[in-house]
């Protein structure tokens, strides 16, 4: 039996409550509030308590999907990534960098958002970068 708890942050609202995620033999359990956390001081709201549930949902995407006609079909990473790269670059070359736009995510980490805007600005060459926080 292999048990560990990992300290992380609730994925929901901006309160940033601290929680431990228990993992038993690779299986994710329900969050445990972090008693010493300066923002949440050992408490979570109902969303926080349920934060593991969506992770183990059977609806999770587990493979890239590529459109063929009306359907999205499973594809390998190489197929999907090559398609993305070639289409993005073709459109950019044909219509200019500002014909592409990128939406960052308030659900992703600082590192991920940093990388996406770096990609947009350096590789594509556009400042068309925004996110949904205006909403």
């Amino acid at each position: 039996m292999n048990y560990k708890t990992v300290l992380t942050v609730c994925p929901y609202c901006g309160c940033g409550c601290g929680m431990y995620l228990p993992v038993l033999d690779g299986q994710l359990g329900q969050p445990i509030p972090d008693k010493t956390h300066p923002l949440s001081e050992g408490r979570l709201c109902i969303k926080g308590w349920a934060a593991s549930e969506h992770v183990v949902s059977p609806d999770r995407l587990t493979q890239p999907l590529v459109r063929t006609g009306d359907d999205l079909k499973q594809a390998t990473w190489d197929e999907a990534l090559d398609l993305v790269a070639s289409r993005l670059m073709t459109l950019r070359d044909r219509h200019g960098p500002d014909s592409l736009a990128f939406l960052c995510s308030a659900k992703c980490t600082n590192e991920e958002n940093y990388l996406l805007q770096k990609f947009a600005r350096t590789t594509v060459g556009t400042n068309n970068v925004d996110h949904c926080a205006r909403l």
Partner: protein, 551 residues
Amino acid sequence: MAGLVTAFGSGAMTNSVPEIEEADCILVTGSNTSENHPLIGARILRAQRKGAKLVVVDPRHIHLAQFADIYARSRPGTDVAWVNGLMHIILTEGWEDREFIAARTDGFERLKEKVAEYSPERVEAITGIKQGQLREIARLYAGAERASIVYAMGITQHTTGTDNVLSLANLAMLTGNVGKRGTGVNPLRGQNNVQGACDVGGLPNVFPGYQQVTDPKVREKFEQAWEIKPEFKGLPQEPGLTLVEMMNACAEGTLKSMFILAENPVLSDPDVNHVREALQNLKFLVVQDIFLTETAELADVVLPGSSFAERDGTVTSTDRSVQRMRKAVEPPGGALPDWEIICQVAKRCGGNGFEYDSPEEVFAEMAHLTPIYGGINYSRLENEWLRWPCSSPEDLGTEFLHHDQFAKGRGLFTAVEYREPVELPDEQYPFMLTTGRQIFHYHTGTMTRRSPSLAREVEQGFIELSPYDALQLGVQDGEKVTVASRRGVIEIKVKVTSTVSRGLVFIPFHFAESAANVLTHRALDPVAKIPEFKVCAVSVSRGPQPDVRCD
């Protein structure tokens, strides 16, 4: 955010969350805090038990209103008017902080002239807030040693959103309630990393750390650090499109392709029918997410990313606290960490500088280029609590901003005129619709509706209708009604409640099958470009109405 940048030089929450408990008076407006930021809501109530006065101004009688020392019901979209009214009273009574105004701010005379026009009588006529109540609020707020303002999207999601924020900033500066503990102007961020996404350059006009893309010196710094290939002739110089502008550009055909990282604009954006059509108009749409969201269903390629439990990295909470997220389990099947996917795409597009071994390396590069994060690194985050700005390894971070001076030097008062919401009720659409969230769900419900214990609590969308209007329409709690606006029609169950007043209806936006944002419109705040979700006109009729169509 634009409002606070103009007034103070920084758009973030001025004070930290724990400081709320040190306030003597807390003014909550446009934030249903106990439902949307439950643990901050709990802290506000704790502050009240310690003796703070709680004032709530909101069109809806929200949960916190039940406990408030004063609850004032304002008409939606009239925030500038009542805040000007408060300042009018404060100045008439001589309750302003003259020393603070003289030492730290500009623009006071113009403000004074403007708010002189907002007598309590006039404000009552505009906002519906009784003069006596307004006076009492002014007395509590201005009389407190430390007064704190807490707000959220109920303030920003208007065509006058920037004006609303400027007004609140005016109020805080007028009374010297900024730049010290337990005070401030505090916008609560709706999602886990809204603050961080802004901080690291997820905006069309700034690089990481709010460094302007239009500033040649800034561009040069990033060009060198990012080793821009010569054939690129430097980084783009003009600010890009904002979200709603992007959607319009899709519809017009000037945008050809979008890459959407874990967002679901098909449900979250105003006038979703327009958004759907706009995205379908693209030549190529990429969505990276953990579920097949309504937006991903429209994509040409869907890339499976990781959930919060499967990733390492950092997020920045609403009060600027930078926190580590840590990976607990592996992503399912072939899903990958999002940072790896983005690097893969970038490299295959010929991108330079996307060879990282870990998020820690990404963070180090970012912190190096982002002065407000400059002193933060993963090892410090192991045992220190850091709020930005934190510029050097010795810097212990910043609990509250604008201590000795404002981020921009001197604070700026802006004289703000009240403007009516763009769409007001009329004969055909007699109700005012406002939208928002509720406690069991989060944003578009992508995650929460797939969580059995949350979905069980509230499975379906609903419309809040006042008992008076329910009686007039002859509808009962739980019955279905048809709600129409100039943009769309939905069918939805009724919840009869005195949370809303006569003529006002509320719909939470989490539910795809009865999406509130079918009804909302795209009118934008001219500065912040935030859509006006909070006010539009609708009609409500009993039962399904097959012939109700939008015009």
